[in-house]
Symmetry: C2
């Protein structure tokens, strides 16, 4: 099944204790698309500027990603620069330039209108709803958000939440949206706001799934070294949604497998700078790490 | 198999956002003994003062715990007072009075000398080694420690570590002992210091096991409310060691099950103040929560 993502394409400048990179291709739409492309056909909706050239376009095309919804606007592409230090759990944002992203209001190409699986990445909830409503055939819509929108546009976010099936956010954001510190209670509050399924990303502490099937808790994959955490959350979402679109089925068993595939892809994402590791994966490596997760968590009943 | 624990018996005064309690029976030896007593015969080694009466002794005896190694000394029992706020991940210690614990140097009763499973709780590493060496028949010795000893007596701690099989500590302590921030690498360093098996307690984020069988990662049990985190780590250790003593076998499969039993017991410990929940458990409740852990973590291969 085709999987549509709307989010930002960006040029990132990143500094971590293990190195740095300037103006490399990034953004949630990019990490999500590349990751999900290992599982299902991906359709991307985003805006890029004059500085987005053939080289960048090829990254999407080489992964078979449908770029009919990639709009080119005059000006520069969204730019972000950030720095990680210490345990690298959180980036310190140095600069954000929205650039062409400021006037972004996507109208989907006709070829996208039959999409059944949708991921509304972390953008203005007004735009998320605008995209959601252009896709009446969507069987599954998931949404990501962040503190900026939770604080700045709570009503618009509530409206968007009311029209999605799954919310994928991090721990701090789950507490912020619900106003509740205990995660189990926070999940109950959020699941009454619209999304019947909630995925909470906890970085190095793994991920939790709250759904009709109860609670599922998965660890993060223990790595010798995290080189660059940029895009880990978006890669998680890409693996999670990618697996669901591939399975075409929304049972509890598939949701749980999707959380593991999300964790698998996030673990690859951070092993090298930018998209590097995600681009040179093999299906065999993905399946091997899935099996490693099984070994990591297995115990006898 | 009998399981011996040496650690502190204390009177605790605790304040959490959900209530407070004054001078209630606590201490690592107490939490460990009571918890482990649900799995195996327990022998306790500790010192108490004049203020430790029949009422406190009965707590141990009602759980069938062997108190032949509970020494009574003139003076007051160890006292600790602490406060938890916010996410309750760490206690703020208000007062510590070592009292009779200052002159503690345990000589084990003859009836203890055939002990095969030993837990050297968080006390001076010199005492840990002193106890360890009185038990030549021990098949399995585990050790806990804390920042105070890691910083204050690193050489003595190294000596103790060289003579144990398992180290059970929390995340911060693992980083401190190894001098390495990455947990996987920290585990490699620690496993070269003596203990071939390392268990890292991560509070609300679960626990990890590093051993010959590879890495095992278990989540914490999601609870609606944590009433009092006091003794959670010691209850984890009690469930972990209790299961191993009961199983009498040290395979990877049993170590993994032990981590889950540790997590089960820690989850019960925090549900009510002090020892309350741990004292009125049933074997059925313990097994039911073990099965709940299976549901919480299961996904299809």
């Amino acid at each position: 099944m085709a999987l549509l993502v709307v989010a930002a394409v960006a040029f990132d400048s990143i500094k971590t204790p293990h190195g740095e990179a300037e103006n490399i291709l990034g953004g949630a739409a990019t990490y999500f698309s590349v990751t999900a492309s290992w599982f299902a056909p991906v359709r991307v909706v985003a805006v890029v500027g004059d500085d987005f050239g053939e080289e960048q376009l090829r990254v999407f095309q080489d992964r078979g990603i449908d770029t009919a919804g990639l709009v080119r606007a005059p000006g520069k592409t969204f730019r972000w620069s950030g720095e990680y230090s210490g345990d690298m759990n959180e980036a310190r944002t140095l600069e954000t330039h929205l650039n062409v992203f400021q006037q972004f209001s996507p109208t989907l190409p006709d070829s996208y209108l039959d999409t059944e699986f949708v991921f509304l990445g972390n953008i203005d909830p007004v735009l998320q709803l605008h995209v959601r409503r252009q896709l009446p055939k969507a069987r599954l819509a998931a949404l990501d958000s962040m503190n900026y929108w939770i604080k700045g546009k709570p009503e618009e976010l509530s409206q968007a939440l009311a029209e999605v099936d799954i919310l994928v956010i991090n721990e701090t954001e789950a507490r912020m949206i619900s106003g509740v510190s205990n995660l189990k209670k926070a999940a109950e509050v959020i699941r009454k706001m619209g999304p019947r399924t909630l995925v909470i990303k906890r970085g190095e502490h793994g991920a939790m799934l709250f759904s009709e099937g109860g609670i599922f808790s998965a660890p993060a994959f223990p790595l010798d070294q995290v080189h660059d955490p940029t895009g880990a959350g978006d890669s998680f979402a890409g693996g999670f949604m990618g697996h669901l679109a591939k399975a075409g089925e929304l049972s509890d068993a598939q949701l749980r497998r999707a959380v593991i595939y999300g964790s698998v892809m996030a673990s690859f994402a951070v092993e090298e700078f930018g998209l590097r590791r995600l681009l040179r994966l093999t299906p065999q490596e993905i399946e091997a790490r899935y099996r490693d997760f099984k070994k990591l968590t297995h115990f006898d009943a």
